[in-house]
């Protein structure tokens, strides 16, 4: 069975400083992993996805994540935080069952960005 664990429920950074949101996964085979972002009163939006191509994945809005099999990690980073990055972030693993894409979400990390 697949699962993801987000190691921080809240992260607070200053505008212009780096962002690191941590995620560890558990999977019986090489997983497909994603990061989604949820802004208040808006739908979940896909930031980036890893599906066994390059281990360093670039997403939208300057975010990127690195798949590290040895550490079973898929941490999300951004070099410089912007106020508009404040949101809830979810690490997600795809559960493949019956030939479709069921998503399994972590508990989320709330990112606060201070001026």
């Amino acid at each position: 069975a697949q699962s993801v664990t987000q190691l921080d429920s809240h992260v607070s950074v200053s505008e212009g400083t780096p962002v690191l949101l941590r995620c560890n996964y558990s999977s019986s085979y090489s997983p497909s992993l994603f990061w989604y972002v949820q802004h208040p009163n808006k739908g979940l939006q896909l930031l980036l996805k890893y599906t066994s191509a390059a281990t360093l994945v670039k997403g939208i809005n300057g975010f990127e994540a690195e798949f590290k099999k040895s550490e079973t990690s898929f941490h999300l980073t951004k070099p410089s935080a912007h106020m508009s990055d404040a949101a809830e972030y979810f690490c997600v693993v795809r559960g493949v069952s019956g030939g479709y894409n069921k998503l399994i979400f972590g508990a989320g990390t709330r990112l606060a960005v201070h001026p």
């Binding site: 009163n41 996805k49 066994s52 030939g99 069921k102 979400f105 989320g108």
Partner: protein
């Protein structure tokens, strides 16, 4: 183009009432998913449709929960005799997944999410 829409956006129900939540997926999307997101938690899978067929309902928490998609487009999630623990945001997502492709890791079809319906049961 139009994304996934859900209605109502907010619903307050008294315990014991029945509620119906609607999802309008992106036109032409074959796959439709329902998720439940409790306060402070990540979304959890409820059920999956491929066109009008409900292929997986393993996440529905009880037999009070029922979902349908009779014509393969709009879907309704119905909760009978609501309880306080049903209070959550209910999310709908659709994707253009076609049968037989889902098992390939590289063939992920992005799920597009609606804004959700926040259900509060008093």
């Amino acid at each position: 183009g139009a994304g996934v829409s859900q209605s109502p956006r907010y619903k307050v129900a008294k315990r014991g009432q029945d509620v119906a939540l609607r999802c309008d997926p992106i036109s032409g999307h074959v796959s439709l998913f329902w998720y439940q997101q409790a306060l402070g938690q990540g979304p959890e899978f409820l059920t999956y449709f491929q066109n009008e067929a409900q292929l997986d309902k393993s996440g529905l928490p009880s037999d009070r929960f029922f979902a349908e998609r009779p014509e393969g487009s709009v879907s309704t999630l119905k909760i009978q005799r609501t309880q306080q623990e049903d209070s959550a945001v209910y999310l709908c997502a659709s994707s253009s997944h076609k049968p037989g492709q889902g098992a390939k890791r590289s063939s992920y079809n992005e799920q597009f999410f609606g804004p959700g319906t926040r259900l509060t049961v008093l």
